[in-house]
């Protein structure tokens, strides 16, 4: 190649590390790499092997090769199908209601009113409470006979008798969704409060001067500004809800009936730790992970959403 020939483009890595330095770099990186491998790759491979071999007799031991029967079992398993459908029944209303409530609360908290700081601080309480405390709280609050909420409803004349929130099918599932939304919306609301701090004031003023009333300003300035945040909030709520477990465990154990409040996550737990079917449990865990990844990919397709997630 001549002197004037095209020089190879240098990547940042060969600017920093050359020759023997590469060796030292490898040595220094090794511990971290080992830890990462041990924590991520090993469980991943191990659980994949579990699905085709099952657990052996001793803890940590793999069983003999049993083929793909755990995977094919999915197809004909009615409880899997029900758990799958119910996972969707958890996720969709949780995302819609959760993001909606969070947005509304954030808009209110963005107004200037006395006590705003205290209100913002209080917002985080549901998110900070341990799930078991939340479960116990709502068990009392919504109790059909002695619950405060039922007393309110009858007192206001909305219902004749206090409703039973923990016996209906699929009503109980939606009770859980409600409690879950109550617990998780503060996280989303904080995201919206932050995004609202960065509203483009000039554009808002321009819209007012252009003749836009409050609703038009919300529709044409605030909402477009919040769009990436809304996408991020939906993704986060979706991920949290797919992994909903503690409220189900503490409040219904999957009931009433046999499986009416199961989701995939709970079913995976049941198989792994109660039925001790580690192979099938691992298969279900893979299904949940695949769902999470697919949903996240679909929702982050928009460039704006990606940059929002990357930039925090």
């Amino acid at each position: 190649m001549s002197v004037l020939g095209v020089r190879r483009r240098r990547s940042p890595s060969d600017l920093a590390i050359k020759g023997e330095q590469r060796f030292y770099a490898g040595v220094f990186l090794l511990p971290t790499a080992l830890i990462a491998l041990g924590l991520v790759a090993y469980p991943l491979v191990y659980s994949l092997l579990l699905t085709v071999r099952g657990a052996g007799d001793l803890p940590g031991e793999l069983g003999p090769w049993i083929g793909f029967s755990n995977w094919t079992h999915l197809v004909g398993d009615p409880v899997f199908r029900q758990s799958f459908v119910q996972s969707v029944m958890y996720v969709v209303p949780a995302c819609v209601v959760g993001v909606g409530v969070a947005l509304a609360v954030a808009v209110v908290l963005n107004q200037d009113f006395p006590g705003r700081r205290i209100a913002r601080a209080c917002l985080l309480i549901p998110w900070a409470l341990p799930p078991v405390v939340v479960a116990a709280m709502f068990e009392w609050f919504l109790d059909a006979r002695r619950g405060l909420f039922g007393a309110w409803l009858t007192g206001l004349g909305i219902t004749a008798r206090p409703p039973d929130f923990f016996s209906g099918i699929p009503g109980t599932l939606f009770t859980l969704v409600g409690i879950h939304v109550w617990k998780t919306f503060p996280l989303l609301a904080i995201m919206f409060v932050v995004a609202l701090q960065y509203l483009p004031q000039e554009t808002l003023h321009a819209a007012r001067i252009d003749g836009a009333g409050m609703l038009h300003r919300f529709r044409y300035v605030v909402l477009p500004h919040l769009r990436p945040t809304i996408v991020a909030a939906v993704i986060i709520e979706l991920l949290i809800t797919l992994q909903l477990f503690d409220l189900i465990y503490a409040l219904t154990l999957g009931g009433p009936g046999a499986y009416s409040t199961y989701n995939l996550y709970f079913y995976a737990y049941k198989n792994t730790f109660e039925y001790q079917d580690f192979g099938y449990g691992a298969v279900l865990a893979y299904v949940v992970s695949a769902l999470v990844i697919v949903c996240a990919l679909i929702l982050t397709r928009g460039r704006a959403a990606r940059s929002q997630l990357a930039g925090g």
Partner: protein
Amino acid sequence: MASVRLEHLGKTYRGGVNALQDLTVTIPNGEFVCILGPSGSGKSTALKLLAGIEEATTGRIFFDDQDVTLTTPERRDVAMVFQSYGLYPQMTVAENIAFPLMLRKVPRAERARQVEEVCKLLGIGKLLRRYPRQLSGGERQRVALGRCIVRNPRVFLLDEPLSNLDANLRVSMRQELRRLHEILGATFIYVTHDQDDALAMGDRVLVLAEGRLQQYDAATRVYQYPANRFVASFLGRLPMNFFSGALETRGDLVMFRNADLLLAVPDGKPPVTGTATLGVRPDAISVRSAHPGKEAPVGFVRWLEVVQPDLYATIEIGSHRIIAKVPEGEALEVGQPAYLHFNPAKLHLFDPATGDRLNPAPEEAAPAGTRRREALA
């Protein structure tokens, strides 16, 4: 289109900051007025009050004879261009410009026709389908202007619209704005901290400082006959020279005297004798190395400075350091003696206590507004 009248307009923010105090001015219909002041002078507040984004604490605002003090911005029928443009990022150029029309429920076909017309006027016809993030600063500025023009508002408000543009673009956008103003014949109120913007574009300039009106006058007169010491020092590229001294009457002449200077001040009307501050711009003093043949203040050249295309010298006389212009062809050297000549027509006297101008400015030759040519459209 409307004239604008402000009466005792004032704004006090929460916390007691007096952003604007007792502003009373009348802006004739169709005039280009620049509000000029340093940061914190209340110029942006004044514009926000005019737009209705902020509420006045005291005073009233009239468009023609209609009191709009309490009218919301949505109904005030003004248009505003912002420093950072304030465009809608999710809309194309065409949608941005059509937005005010859409809010007014103008039919789609009529909207498209008006948008096209405005874009032709601004030379952005090819950008209609682009988004603001795909445009340069100058192009965004035009879109923001288009969004105003399409409304045909009563008053145009412009908040430092050129400050984000580079120097060359600024100059051409200034001409562009003047051209638009001539075509539209509308009332333009333009806020800036840049004296070049104000003096180049404004029919009149309104100088504010610390929330108070300093001077409201034709653009040329603000520079030539500053109403007080603040205006005198705020305008001009080089700082004005100030001298404190005493005024005396000698026959028909009024003389300014201090330890180092003795100058005749031809102002026609003898002011009260007493102390005064004399202000002289560097370009009203010329320096020569040769003795002019008559009595002249003499000092030493301390240093020389080029302010293209001119050369300025700093001359030391007694306790004074004076910046003065070096005439073309004059060869000065640092450390050499230098003789000063003060242009008698360009001497400004100020009250040392209040800063107000003492020698009266001549009557305005041509009323402001005649600079505006006949409307083309």
